[in-house]
């Protein structure tokens, strides 16, 4: 069997509204909890963007160091961060007004 890399679906395939978590399961004892839980804001970022945020925190927020590690120019990395900031602001707006 080929291993499929699953990623967390973030928006409704039918109407594109942000999705919520309605059930969580424990694989050890088969317990399921259900309710309606908001996905944390960071979990709503795409996998790539989230990785960027993690790298950013790991480098103590040094874009210069990140640029060096990624082999990219400073403004390229800076623009990436600015785009993620804009994305986060958009997500925040979407969550507030359902």
């Amino acid at each position: 069997m080929k291993q499929i890399k699953k990623s967390l679906p973030l928006s409704c395939p039918s109407c594109a509204s942000p999705l919520k978590v309605t059930s969580l399961a424990c694989e050890a004892c088969d317990t399921t909890v259900s309710g309606s839980f908001e996905l944390p804001l960071l979990a709503r970022l795409s996998a790539d963007d989230l990785q960027f945020v993690i790298d950013f925190v790991k480098t103590s927020g040094s874009l210069k160091l990140m640029a060096q590690q990624l082999g990219l120019s400073y403004p390229t990395v800076r623009n990436r961060l600015d785009d993620i900031i804009a994305n986060i602001e958009k997500i925040e707006k979407n969550i507030k007004i359902p």
Partner: protein, 184 residues
């Protein structure tokens, strides 16, 4: 390779680009002096027959680059919604002029020294051979502006074209007034 030729500023900008750009600009001005190529404008090249001292070639390059940097900085200050650095604008725009070295070299192959203002077949041949070089420089200059100010899409293209025209006019005027003063 393709990304390095067309989108080099994804990988290099800031101080490194400025240093590399300046070195290439210096070499280009020397080559231009020997092949009598004038880069007299933000994005201009003319073949000239007039005897001109070396420092005029260097000044032309510096004025053309400087005007473009100032115009792009002003445009970024007006339209960029995120922070940007002058060093990135100056660096990427310096490196964007690197293909001019090719234009200066190509001019060695032009046999006759002609009056640059006349519509001479040699002038047309030079213009046609250099056309891809100038398209390349335009693409690079746009990338330089776009990456430095984080502006993308149609809006960025329109802002860039206006900025380029302003830089062209200002650099032309500056050269017209300052260079004769230096020569007299």
């Amino acid at each position: 390779m393709n990304t390095w030729l067309l989108r080099p500023f994804t990988y290099i900008a800031g101080g490194k680009a400025l240093l590399a750009g300046w070195v290439i600009m210096l070499i280009t001005s020397v080559v231009a002096y020997f092949s009598k190529t004038h880069f007299d404008g933000a994005i201009d090249a003319h073949i000239g027959s007039t005897v001109t001292p070396y420092y005029i070639y260097l000044l032309e390059t510096l004025i053309a680059w400087g005007c473009m940097v100032l115009a792009c900085y002003a445009a970024a200050a007006l339209f960029a919604r995120t922070s940007f650095r002058l060093i990135d604008i100056a660096g990427t725009l310096a490196l964007a002029r690197a293909p001019l070295l090719l234009a200066a070299l190509i001019n060695f192959a032009m046999p006759a020294r002609v009056d640059p203002t006349a519509i001479d077949p040699m002038v047309i041949v030079f213009a046609l051979i250099c056309l891809p070089v100038f398209v390349w420089i335009l693409v690079l200059m746009y990338q330089a502006f776009s990456i430095s100010a984080n502006l993308k899409g149609n809006k960025a293209v329109i802002i860039f074209i206006v900025t380029l025209l302003v830089a062209e006019v200002v650099s032309k005027l500056l050269m017209q007034f300052t260079l004769p003063l230096m020569l007299s």
